[in-house]
């Protein structure tokens, strides 16, 4: 899937940024989506997406081919999320929030197919992935939410297939434990 027109990326690679707004319009939501699902915070995700777009502007000349743009964009976003987690290592201890788990419980047991808004997604992601390491979060989001292939995840995260498999196993296990602990 080509995210941005090949010609626009080629222009940007050659240093012509007249149409860079189109790149921002197309790539911004993807960066925001990954960031929100990884961090569980709308404002942080927006900041990360903005920083990602600035990095794209700075380094688009280094991209190997326009086809690799999406993978490259995802890699930058994931790395920015890692930076955020590194900066905020001293996170407060996880406190199970009754309201949040009620929302999760309603979502799991509900029969309606309503889509969640950003706040709903943030609450659920924050609660479910509270005990996950940044790498496990990345693999969980890219594999189980964005449904990327193992090869794509490997390219984005730089992890080996074996590590991806292990991280995904642990991520699912930890989320499963949370669900078992807090949901009837």
């Amino acid at each position: 899937m080509i995210l941005v027109e090949r010609s626009i990326i080629e222009e940007c690679r050659k240093g012509d940024f007249r149409n860079f707004r189109q790149v921002v319009a197309a790539a911004g939501p993807i960066a925001f989506s990954i960031a929100l699902r990884m961090t569980g915070d709308e404002a942080t995700a927006s900041d990360i997406a903005q920083e990602t777009m600035v990095t794209v502007w700075e380094k688009i000349e280094k991209i190997s081919s326009p086809e690799a743009f999406k993978t490259w964009l995802c890699r930058i976003t994931v790395n920015k999320c890692y930076d955020y987690f590194r900066k905020n290592r001293s996170n407060p201890e996880f406190n199970p929030d009754e309201k949040s788990w009620r929302l999760i419980s309603d979502t799991v047991s509900g029969t309606d197919h309503r889509e969640l808004d950003n706040t709903g997604i943030s609450i659920i992601v924050r609660q479910l992935t509270a005990n996950l390491s940044p790498k496990q979060k990345a693999v969980f989001v890219l594999s189980d939410l964005d449904e990327l292939t193992r090869e794509e995840i490997s390219e984005i995260t730089g992890m080996s297939m074996k590590n991806i498999k292990a991280s995904l196993y642990h991520a699912r296990k930890k989320i499963g434990e949370m669900l078992e602990k807090y949901l009837k």
Partner: protein, 178 residues
């Protein structure tokens, strides 16, 4: 009641279906373009960002940058001092250290005198190659041996000795009393 796998599948399915939406795409675009404009006008220090980008706490980063600048300055100062001293040493006289043993043994005293003799003029003029030094010492040796031979010759011949003594006395007399 659902099992764990079922709950997991259900929650991920809902999350998959619910694609996060940028709150205000236009504002987002403007913010990004503003940040790019800011980067263009204030490019910053890419080398410092590359070296110390991993430090997120402002004051620690500043301390590291200052410390590295100080270390580099001290290092450069020390290097310049060392180079200066090497330069001074290079300009000084280099006495040959590989004279042949027999010459070295016989001319130790002469060399000491030559080495300790105060020299006027630029230091660079004192550079004497080893070959030239050998020649000087050889000619000095020869001069000394001829002088000894001459003394022996004079002592052996009384007439010559008397003649030379007369000549020397005559020369003494010719000198003015100042």
């Amino acid at each position: 009641m659902m099992d764990n796998t079922g709950k997991y599948e259900r929650i991920t399915e809902v999350l998959r279906r619910s694609e996060p939406q940028l709150p205000d795409p236009v504002l987002f675009e403007e913010k990004v373009m503003g940040m790019i404009r800011e980067k263009k006008t204030h490019p910053g220090f890419p080398v410092l960002d590359c070296l110390f980008g991993w430090v997120y706490i402002g004051w620690i980063r500043n301390v590291l940058v200052t410390a590295s600048f100080l270390l580099i300055t001290v290092f450069a100062f020390q290097q310049s001092m060392i180079l200066k001293r090497i330069g001074t040493l290079e300009k000084q006289v280099v006495y040959p250290g590989v004279l042949t043993d027999n010459i070295k043994a016989s001319l130790d005293n002469v060399r000491n005198v030559l080495c300790s003799y105060p020299v006027k003029g630029p230091v660079t003029a004192l550079k004497i190659p080893e070959k030239e030094m050998k020649k000087i010492f050889e000619s000095l040796n020869e001069l000394q041996s001829r002088y000894r031979e001459l003394i022996i010759l004079i002592n052996e011949n009384p007439e010559l000795k008397k003649y030379i003594e007369d000549r020397l006395n005559e020369n003494e007399r010719k000198k003015f009393n100042l």
